[in-house]
Symmetry: C2
Subunit: 162 residues, 2 copies
């Protein structure tokens, strides 16, 4: 395994661990439990879970890996704050969407070579990328892993302490 | 720049961004403001900041980059939960410790080559590392960046919304 392959493997493992933790924390909750706020007046779990689902789904497009599955999530979970949209998916629906999005994303991430990870992401033009080669897919993977961890730190606050 | 150098640069940038955000969020708070809890009954900011300082300091040792500066932090901020130890550093002291630790750590991280990032970390023996080469310094860097992000997600809950 080359040095760059090793680094990609480590980074993907880190992403997948964070994703698994999100699944464990959210996917067995009832509709009622998903109404819990992470702190008084702050985001509810249902919103954060939808927000993470929309982020995973949009990753497919940001990494230029194909069509995303649920662009309709963005209006509620990326472009609006919690409680701005009254009609949210149920726990069962969101669980189905979450699984569908990740079943689409995980193999797409796994098939990229190290060289492909260093190609540009969708938010930078070919012209700008020549000058700013750090704006690559690998940078997006790390920043999305950190984003996931940031919200996991909030989600765990709703759990009873052991 | 080789592919592996590019990946190291991206990963260090991600770590440094998270660290800067922690500095911005914590280092101008008063002793009183650092008493805020991230959610009712949960960790106070003073504890989380000390916990992050102890983690940064221990990183020097985990990465086999030399002596750490403040091992005395561990008893309060890593081995005990918040409120178990009555005597905590003041805001001014913790700020000084935080700056000292990161002034020691940042150049030590910057001088490692890509090959050195893929060497073993201190918690794995040379023997085990032959079988488990993913237990390298690079994996520690990504996991500590995620750990930092996890707690930043909690720290921001104490901030007024814009």
């Amino acid at each position: 395994m080359t040095a760059q392959d090793m680094m990609v493997t480590v980074a993907l493992k880190s992403w997948n661990q964070a994703l698994d933790r999100a699944t464990q924390l959210c996917s067995n909750l009832t509709d009622e439990e998903l109404q819990a706020e992470v702190a008084p007046g702050r985001n509810r779990l249902i919103y954060l879970w939808g927000h993470l689902a929309a982020t995973s789904d949009s990753l497919i497009a940001t990494l230029r890996l194909g069509q995303r599955l649920h662009p309709e999530l963005d209006a509620t979970f990326l472009k609006s704050p919690d409680r701005a949209v009254a009609e949210l998916p149920s726990a069962a629906e969101l669980k189905r969407i979450w699984e569908e999005i990740n079943a689409n994303l995980t193999p797409a991430l796994a098939q990229l070579s190290a060289e492909e990870w260093l190609e540009r992401h969708a938010s930078v033009s070919e012209e700008d990328f020549v000058k700013e080669p750090l704006r690559n897919r690998f940078a997006i993977l790390l920043s999305r892993t950190n984003h996931l961890g940031f919200h996991l730190g909030q989600v765990v606050l709703t759990k009873k302490r052991g």
